[in-house]
């Protein structure tokens, strides 16, 4: 084959179809928007029951996680996600699905070596770097407040 690696790489790039963004973008907007609207409707409903802002936030997250877990268990969620893409992945639903799906998959290896240890194979980095980012922003806030700021 008379071709350098670079030339081959260029040929592959030319021959490989890209994501159909004319379809994926609107779908992500639509489905992601629907999930967020459901969250907002839940928040309004909960706050009508005299819940504080913090409590409402927590309950909305819990309910969305619960719904995702159930839909994942019944094998429905990945069908929605196929169309939703980032729309289902970015909200908390994506995180919940990323934890529940390996837990289901690795049941065959038992509860210790399967379910519990494989549960975070996809979501692990989110938890680790999410915690680090939260700590970093906490330290920055603390320093700013020490310097007389107010955040």
């Amino acid at each position: 084959m008379n071709m350098s690696y670079k030339e081959y790489g260029q040929l592959v790039k030319k021959m490989s179809p890209g994501s159909p963004i004319y379809k994926t973008f609107p779908l992500a907007f639509l489905i992601g928007g629907t999930i967020c609207s459901v969250g907002e409707a839940l928040r309004l409903w909960l706050s009508s029951m005299n819940m504080s802002k913090e409590e409402c936030g927590i309950w909305v997250s819990v309910i969305l996680i619960f719904i995702t877990a159930v839909l994942t268990g019944f094998g429905v969620f990945h069908k929605i996600a196929k169309f939703g893409g980032a729309g289902t992945f970015v909200p908390i639903t994506g995180f919940a699905n990323a934890v529940v799906s390996p837990a289901l998959e690795f049941q065959t290896e038992g509860f210790i070596l399967g379910v519990s240890s494989k549960m975070f194979i996809i979501a692990g980095p989110v938890i680790v770097y999410g915690t680090i980012a939260a700590m970093a922003s906490g330290i920055i806030c603390y320093i700013i407040n020490c310097l007389g700021g107010n955040i």
Binding site: M1, Y5, G9, V12, S16, P17, S19, G94, T108, I122
Partner: protein, 317 residues
């Protein structure tokens, strides 16, 4: 038997005595509907794990191929088989009850033996994510072939070409077709040069499984190399699924894919004389998730066999 840099022409070509193909329900609803010996239901066919289901498929394919050949396991001298699970457990557990002398092989999708979406290569089934369009779908399928002496069966294996490991520095796990295409080019051109033949001398040049992207790359490069495939080329990944109707993106893959297409369809057409001379090129992307995460590229390998129906004549050299 002559061996020139991997191209082997058999003086007494072995013939195919029996063969069997097994597939999952998605595969069985594709273009090859009704041609499989057995269809396994759901993801695991009632077994407790994917691995157990894989062993069950392999055992069924082996037993069925033996039955069709009219042989019992103790009449078999040696079995070559493999899969893509660690330690080839699909094969080991599948064949343990047959007591046949066994040599395990690994060649990714080039194994032409059997596979069912191995978990180490994919996300969990219920994981919601979108797969890029270049990605291929790992087929749930298995195939088995029983070989015997020349002309005992209706199809002879006239020649073979053992492929080299070819690496064109593709690192995208979702574009295996592109990783394997250079290996297919290498093996096919080497075989053409060595046997002084070209695409016109064959009825079908069947690769398994480059998918749509890899196939397009293959035919473009073969044109450039001066060995155009001239419409003789088909790909198992494209034959097993209907890409318009079934959501498999660039086509099927996995070592069960080419095995099932060969055993469910192509061998039958060779037996009945609809096809006479077929080059079957099983391609494998030798992808290791660990090596890939460490930044290694994905090497490819392609092995070729030249199948000829009994009605055909002539030596390959």
């Amino acid at each position: 038997m002559k061996n020139r840099r991997g191209v082997i022409c058999f003086k007494n070509p072995p013939s195919i005595l029996g063969y069997a193909a097994v597939a999952g329900d998605m595969e069985a609803n594709g273009p090859l509907k009704g041609k499989f010996d057995k269809v396994f239901q759901g993801d695991m066919d009632g077994e407790k794990s994917f691995e157990k289901a894989e062993s069950k498929m392999q055992l069924f394919a082996a037993k069925q191929a033996l039955k069709k050949a009219g042989l019992s396991p103790d009449e078999i001298d040696i079995a070559f088989a493999g899969d893509l699970l660690n330690q080839c457990i699909g094969t080991n557990y599948g064949l343990r009850e047959l007591n046949i002398p066994f040599a395990g092989i690994y060649g990714a999708c080039s194994t032409m033996a059997e596979s069912a979406s191995e978990r180490q290569f994919r996300f969990p089934l219920e994981y919601g994510g979108q797969r890029p369009l270049t990605a291929q779908w790992t087929a749930t399928a298995a195939g088995a072939v029983v070989l015997g002496k020349q002309n005992e069966g209706k199809v002879n294996v006239k020649a073979a070409c053992v492929g080299e490991i070819i690496d064109y520095q593709i690192k995208d796990m979702n574009n295996m077709g592109a990783a394997m295409a250079p290996a297919a080019v290498n093996t096919i051109t080497k075989f053409f040069k060595s046997t002084k033949t070209q695409a016109e001398d064959y009825d079908m040049i069947l690769t398994g499984d480059l998918g749509q992207v890899g196939s397009a790359i293959l035919s473009q490069i073969m044109d450039k190399e001066g060995y155009p495939l001239k419409g003789k080329h088909s790909d198992c990944g494209l034959l097993l699924f209907d890409r318009q109707r079934q959501d498999v993106h660039s086509g099927g893959s996995g070592c069960g894919c080419s095995a099932a297409v060969l055993c469910a369809d192509v061998l039958k057409r060779l037996e009945t004389g609809k096809l006479k001379r077929v080059l079957f090129i099983a391609t494998g992307a030798l992808m290791s998730p660990t090596a890939n995460q460490q930044g290694e590229s994905i090497p490819g390998v392609a092995h070729l066999i030249f199948l000829e129906g009994n009605i055909g004549h002539g030596n390959c050299d």
